[in-house]
Point group: C2
DNA sequence: ATACCTTTACTAACACTGTTAGGTAAAATA
DNA sequence: TATTTTACCTAACAGTGTTAGTAAAGGTAT
C-alpha cells in the first residue's frame, strides 16, 4: 500500500508549502496583506486547494501562531538549559523572550497582533501549556526557597508574562520617542524586581 | 453670511454622525466588522460622502482611537484630582486605566488592537502627550522625594504604561484560565512594587 | 476490460471589501 | 439669467474570503 502513503506524503507537502508561502508573504508585507489568492499563486495551485488543507484563513494564521510558540519554546528551553539557578533561568528566559520578539517581529505580531485574540483562539494553542510550564517551574523553585512559600506561582507567571509582553508591545509601537538602551534598562529593572519580589 | 455657517455646521454634523455610526458598529460587532458601506447605510448617505470627511477607513479608526485616549485622559484627570499624594495619584490612575480598559473593551481594542500600530500612526495621536504628562508628573515628584533623585522619569513612565498594558492585554485574551481576583492581585502587587521601587 | 467510485484539481461565481472616476441636479454667485 | 460651485449620487475597479459545481485522473471491484 505504498500508493496511499505517497499520496499522504504529497498532501502534507502541499500543506507545508501553503504554510511556507503564507509565512513568506507575512514576513514580506505583514500579516494584514496576506491573502488566500496570493498563497495560491505562490504554491502554483488554484484557490480551493487551500481549503482542502485549512478550514479558513484564520486556521492558517492560527497554525503560524502555533509555529511561533513552538519556536519561542525551543529558544526558551535552550536558554533555560544553559542557566543553573532558578534566578538565572528566569533572567535568561526573559531576555530570550525579548530577543525572540524583536528578532521575529513578524511572528510576534501574528501571535499577539491580530486584534486581541479571543478566548476560544487562545485555547486552541496547545503550545501555551508548554510555555507556561517552562516558566512556572523555576518560579515555583524560587518561591519555595523564599520567605513567602505560600505565594501563588500562577500569579507570578501571569505577572511575568504580562509585563514582558507589555514592555515589548509598547516598545514595538513607539520606537522613536524612547531609545533602545532605555528599554533594555526597563527590562533589566523589571527582571531584578520580579526575582527579588519572590525571594523577599 | 449665515449660509456658509449653516453649511459648515451641517458638514460637521455629517462628520460626527459618521464617527457615531462607526463607533456603534464597532461596539456591536467588533472593529474587524466595520465597513464603509455599513457606515454609509447607517447615516443614510452614499458611500463617497464618507470620503469627503475622511481620507480612508484608517482615518476613521484613528479618530476613534483619539476619542478613546481623550476619554481615558478625562478619567485619569478626574482620578488624579481626587487623590492627594503622588503615591495615591499613581495608584488611582493605575486602577482607573485598568477599569477603563475593561469597561470600554471596544475602545481599548481599537486603541491597541489593530495589529500593532505603526510608529507613524502613534505619532498622529496627539492625545498621547497629555496622557504621558499626566502620569509623568507624580512620577517626577515621587522620584524627587525618594532616595534616587537621578532616576529617569521617562523610564518609569515607560515601565508603568508597558506593564499596565501587558497586564490588561494578556488578561483580555485569556480570562478563563486565570480568575478575576487573581488579576486584581497582580495589579495591586504591581502598583505597590512600582511605587516602592521609586522611593527606595 | 469495463464499470464504478473516490480523490484531486479546476473554473466560475457569490457576496463582500476599500476606493474612486464621472455625472447630475441643486444651490450660490456673477 | 448665465455660470460656477457644491453636494451628492450611480457605477465601476480591483481586491477580499469562501464555495458550488465540474471534469479528469487514479485506484478498486466486478
Amino acid at each position: 500500500m505504498g500508493i496511499a502513503e505517497r499520496k499522504k506524503r504529497h498532501k502534507e507537502e502541499v500543506r507545508a508549502s501553503i504554510l511556507e508561502a503564507a509565512w513568506q508573504l507575512v514576513v514580506q508585507d505583514g500579516w494584514q496583506a496576506l491573502s488566500i489568492r496570493k498563497i495560491a499563486e505562490a504554491i502554483e495551485y488554484s484557490v480551493p486547494v487551500i481549503y482542502d488543507h485549512f478550514a479558513n484563513k484564520e486556521a492558517i494564521l492560527l497554525e503560524l501562531t502555533k509555529q511561533g510558540f513552538r519556536k519561542l519554546n525551543e529558544a526558551l528551553i535552550k536558554a533555560k538549559q544553559q542557566a543553573q539557578s532558578p534566578e538565572e533561568q528566569i533572567e535568561a528566559m526573559a531576555y530570550t523572550y525579548w530577543r525572540f520578539a524583536f528578532e521575529n517581529t513578524a511572528y510576534y505580531q501574528v501571535m499577539y497582533g491580530l486584534g486581541i485574540p479571543s478566548c476560544e483562539t487562545v485555547n486552541q494553542i496547545s503550545e501555551l501549556s508548554t510555555f507556561s510550564e517552562l516558566i512556572l517551574e523555576p518560579i515555583k523553585e524560587l518561591i519555595a526557597s523564599g520567605k513567602h512559600p505560600d505565594t501563588d506561582p500562577f500569579l507570578k507567571l501571569h505577572t511575568f508574562w504580562s509585563m514582558l509582553h507589555g514592555l515589548i508591545s509598547i516598545n514595538m509601537m513607539g520606537a522613536e520617542q524612547h531609545k533602545e538602551e532605555l528599554n533594555q534598562m526597563v527590562l533589566k529593572d523589571f527582571i531584578r524586581g520580579f526575582i527579588s519580589g519572590m525571594k523577599a
